[in-house]
Amino acid sequence: MERDAPALAAPRCPADAVPPFALETVRITGFVGVGLTALAAGLSGVATLLPDSVQPAINFARLCLVFIGMITVGAAISMRPGVWWAWALGAAAALLTWPGLPEYWDSFRLLTLVLAGVAGGGVILTSCTPFWRTVLVSALVLFHFTGIFMATTSPPPTPWLTEQVFRHIYNPYLQLVYLRNAYHFYSPEPGPASLLAFFLKTEVGTTATGEPEYKYQWVVLPTRPADLRDPLGLGYYRRLSLTEQLARGSPGLAVPTDQFEKTEMWYRRYNQREVIPFHPADNVNIQYRLPNPDVTRYLLPSYASHVILEHTPDKQTAAKTTVKVYRLEHRTMPPDQFTRRLADGGYQSPYNPVTYRPFFLGEFDVHGTLLNPQEDLLYWLIPILPADPNDKQLNPYKKPYLDYMSVHALELSPNEVLAADEKAGRVFNWSQLK
């Protein structure tokens, strides 16, 4: 069958040189597409009468019919995008796709309604005169960029006008098409990067004295070169994005809410100062970082669960594993510190552990449940402080830092951590961060 319309007259301009597809071809293609989606919709009615054992096969067939049908009708529209009834067939197919999809494909059912709306818009635009088409498209352009503008003004402090218009009108549209970004890159300040350190503790048995015996493992997100899996390091930067999500929070002590809890929490922390001191360089108010509610509600539990499942061989082991999560905020060094010579003639490395600020975010089980919401150091900064590398007795590995994060994770004394070999894997190995 000849798909092109017979072109008996010479084209008037170069744009007309390509003969349009025959309307018959477009009609047949469109109706085939509609037919396939109608078949899927019909199967949905039949499916309720069939036994459960065949439901997966029926659902798969429905999905295939819907997918092929929509592509087919899309092809029909693409053959003659200026023909209104091609768009009308598209709208009909999209509407039939709604019942054609299995019910649990709810997000795609939403998409089909959107596509039906778009196709309906196509019908209107192609039916209009050129003048009204110009007017309608212009209105759509203004609508679209007003939304983009509203998105750029949506971060706090949000103007009332943006809040009302954005929330009422634009948010669903921009959220659907992922155009709600405010483009406030590195604003107001670039800010330090964060890493995550996960301390997994798995109960593997009991000792001779009846005490539970544990196996320990540290996991860091991200690390180089392990997470540089592709030539351009995209996987590494994606992991940095994951860590940045947990950085969203506020200096909790400075926020004037939940003062009763903060009073109790302060005393819990204060009572631990002999074991784990406050960081001497930072104001106490900013040593407590309360994560945003969405971080504690679903991000932290999800991350914790994922890490346990990924680093345990089976469900039974996972059930006996807990994970402590630390967010390591890596401050950038000011120029004077960066250029200052040390006593040994060298310079402080930007990867020196004392440049990290670990915040304890909680201990979780495999289900993502926070085990002790009243843990003394929950959401507090756990310092990494300078230590004397020349004390051979206490510090055989000449570490210039005292790692209180390992003190907290392993519940060891500072001297035990100072004297431990990081390469053995029990205390945190800071050299892996470079």
């Binding site: 939403l110 930067y237 940095l240």
Partner: protein
């Protein structure tokens, strides 16, 4: 852009605003630029999704970093609130809220779940809270609640306090005085009858608290009191209202309470529940199925990049890519935002009109139609074959990209002015010395930066110049790009993105920004870069255009001849088509195919394809149909006798 439109800034421009608007958005433009943007975007998108292959389960799997169960709950239940449209200026969002601390919230939920189901009983138990909630002065509420809270310290305290409140006496009388001093003045001044009523309400409230099964009664009761005491007045009103309006139906009630426990808000007050997002990864979690679909997506992106059925593949590509975006937004950063913007607009415009397989197909159909119609390549077809015709949709799409880019830069630039570091230059230092992003792990980089920072005037000059440069580009480009300085600012912006890409390793992000900048280039820039120079060999394709098979062969050859190297020569006597280079011997069949692949610029890049078994023979049959081994006579007549060439130029 197209030379057909008048300049936007021409002096003495007397066009009306409507005409200017139409000229800006609805003029025509060469689709070559858009086609090039499509190819660049497609290649980058392909890389981005190839990189996903290594982390498909970690990012999008059922138990990935952001597990399927969490995103499902978030997309179906997450509330969106908005402050009241009418009402007072200080009225914020009013929804019941609990403490965000898990142990305190647990106590509050125990309290809420322990409330009487029956509305009348609940109202009676909560009468005291409802009473003091009406007090205009928030301090009065707190004083009254603390007064009642202290009654629970010991069992007899409640009786003693209520006895004194209602005017009774304790022994010894000094105790009465002590208790009377504790009564808030606004209670003390009330008539006897009213005080007795209050006492009854307090007793009912404490009875309720006594009936609830707390984990730790003293601690948890105090958590409840603390919350009501310290929460803001509007939130307290909302919580008490929430309690009053809890449904009596057990299932509905539990649903509401579960929602409050997880989302810390009342869904009945929300403007909207859930996100209108879609993703195939919400519904497909089996690793094998995911892998197969992912491979399909990669093939789709490749087809889009090559410009195969672009009108369909562009839409499918955007739908596929946004599936990844919606599933796990926590792995995204600015690169994905730019990728999405480009794919969204490329979907609207016909980005397959140039530099695409679609363009080759269109060339074939145009040539075939012309040959079928008149046996020659007519002038409009010739023009079509020479250049893709300018189109309104192309211009419209390029304008969308340009305007959106201006919004991005304006927002990025102005928002930076909120930060002190962008005024004093330290923002550049914080970027350059960031150990996670930059090349700081290399000793040479660390030494270079230290050297810069060691010379104070050089340090300040560099940092301040860098931030001023960034701000100038980001705030200035949206205005200057519409003037004669377009070339200059586009060049500076490209340099800035290249520097960021090198310094911070965000190479894909910056490449996508540079691709967006391509939209500002004039039409001919890209087109002329793809145009071959005059030194290409000229070929002669002899064909009987009245023979349908030969006409199709000619159309196919012309379609593949993107640089118009071939002249068609009509010969009604030829048995089959032949090809010759210049005045050389004409050849046909597989030799002809080889000749084409050797000399036609587009085909020469695909010469490796001739190694595919059967392809050469297939092409020989299509391009040189009805071929018989050439006889001496037909070859000599093809080279010597005069012919009527099918004029192409």
């Amino acid at each position: 852009m197209s030379t057909m439109r008048p300049s936007l800034t021409a002096p003495g421009d007397e066009r009306s605003p409507w005409q200017r608007w139409k000229d800006f958005w609805f003029s025509t433009a060469d689709p070559t630029t858009l086609g090039f943007i499509r190819i660049c975007t497609g290649l980058l998108v392909l890389y981005i999704h190839l990189a996903y292959s290594l982390d498909l389960q970690a990012f999008f799997g059922k138990h990935g970093w952001y597990a399927a169960s969490f995103i499902d709950r978030e997309r179906k239940e997450s509330p969106a609130f908005v402050s009241p449209f009418w009402g007072g200026y200080d009225e914020g969002r009013m929804s019941a809220q609990l403490s965000d601390f898990p142990h305190r919230r647990e106590a509050l939920m125990t309290f809420l779940r322990g409330l009487p189901v029956n509305e009348i009983d609940r109202a009676a138990a909560m009468a005291f809270l409802n009473r003091i909630n009406t007090y205009q002065n928030p301090d009065d509420f707190r004083v009254a609640l603390v007064y009642v809270q202290r009654m629970g310290s010991r069992p007899e305290e409640l009786d003693n306090n209520l006895t004194v409140l209602t005017g009774g006496q304790l022994t010894p009388p000094e105790r009465t005085l002590a208790y009377r001093r504790a009564i808030p003045t606004f209670f003390r001044d009330l008539p006897q009858e009213e005080r007795e009523k209050i006492a009854g309400e307090i007793r009912a409230f404490w009875t309720l608290l006594g009936q609830i099964k707390w984990a730790d009664p003293d601690r948890d009761r105090n958590y409840v009191f603390n919350h009501f005491t310290e929460v803001a007045a509007e939130s307290r009103h909302a919580l008490i209202q929430y309690i009053a309006t809890l449904p009596t139906d057990a299932a509905e009630r539990e649903k509401l309470l579960n929602y409050l426990e997880y989302w810390n808000s009342d869904p009945r007050q929300a403007l909207r529940i859930g996100y209108p997002i879609f993703s195939i990864w919400f519904h497909v979690t089996d690793p094998t199925q995911m892998a197969l679909i992912h491979v399909g997506v990669l093939v789709l992106i490749l087809l889009f990049t090559l410009g195969v059925f672009t009108r369909v593949t562009s839409v499918l590509t955007w739908l596929a890519c946004i599936s990844y975006i919606h599933r796990t937004q926590h792995v995204l950063f600015g690169m994905d935002t730019m990728m999405n913007i480009l794919l969204f607009y490329l979907m609207i415009g016909n980005s397959g009109a140039a530099l695409s397989v679609d363009r080759l197909l269109a060339r074939y159909r145009a040539a075939r139609a012309s040959l079928n119609r008149s046996g020659v390549i007519d002038a409009p077809t010739r023009a079509f074959l020479a250049y893709p015709p300018p189109s309104v949709l192309t211009n419209f799409t390029l304008r969308l990209i340009q305007v959106h880019f201006c919004f991005i830069y304006t927002a990025a630039g102005l928002s930076k002015l909120k930060g002190a570091a962008w005024w004093n230059g330290m923002a550049f230092w914080d970027v350059v010395v960031n150990p996670e992003f930059t090349l700081m792990l290399y000793p040479w980089y660390e030494s270079m930066v230290r050297g810069l920072a060691s010379i104070k005037p050089l340090f300040y000059f560099t940092t301040i110049t860098a931030v001023w440069f960034t701000l100038f580009i980001e705030i200035g480009l949206p205005f200057l790009v519409w003037t004669r300085l377009r070339w200059f600012v586009v060049f500076l912006a490209t340099a800035m993105h290249a520097l960021i890409g090198v310094l911070m390793g965000l190479n894909l992000f910056e490449l996508l920004m540079i691709v967006m900048l391509l939209a500002f280039l004039p039409d001919r820039v890209i087109r002329d870069r793809f145009r071959a120079g005059p030194g290409l060999p000229r070929l002669r394709f002899t064909v009987n255009t009245r023979n349908p098979a030969q006409a199709r062969a000619a159309a196919l050859v012309l379609a593949l001849d993107a640089d118009n190297q071939i002249a068609l020569q009509h010969d009604p006597d030829v048995v089959t088509t032949t090809i010759a280079v210049g005045d050389g011997e004409p050849v046909t069949g597989p030799e002809g195919v080889a000749l084409l692949f050797q000399h036609i610029r587009l085909l020469s890049a695909l010469r490796w394809a001739l190694w595919i078994p059967g392809l050469r023979g297939l092409l020989a049959r299509r391009l040189f149909p009805d071929r018989r081994p050439p006889s001496r006579e037909s070859l000599s007549s093809a080279s010597g006798a005069p012919r009527s060439p099918v004029a192409r130029r």
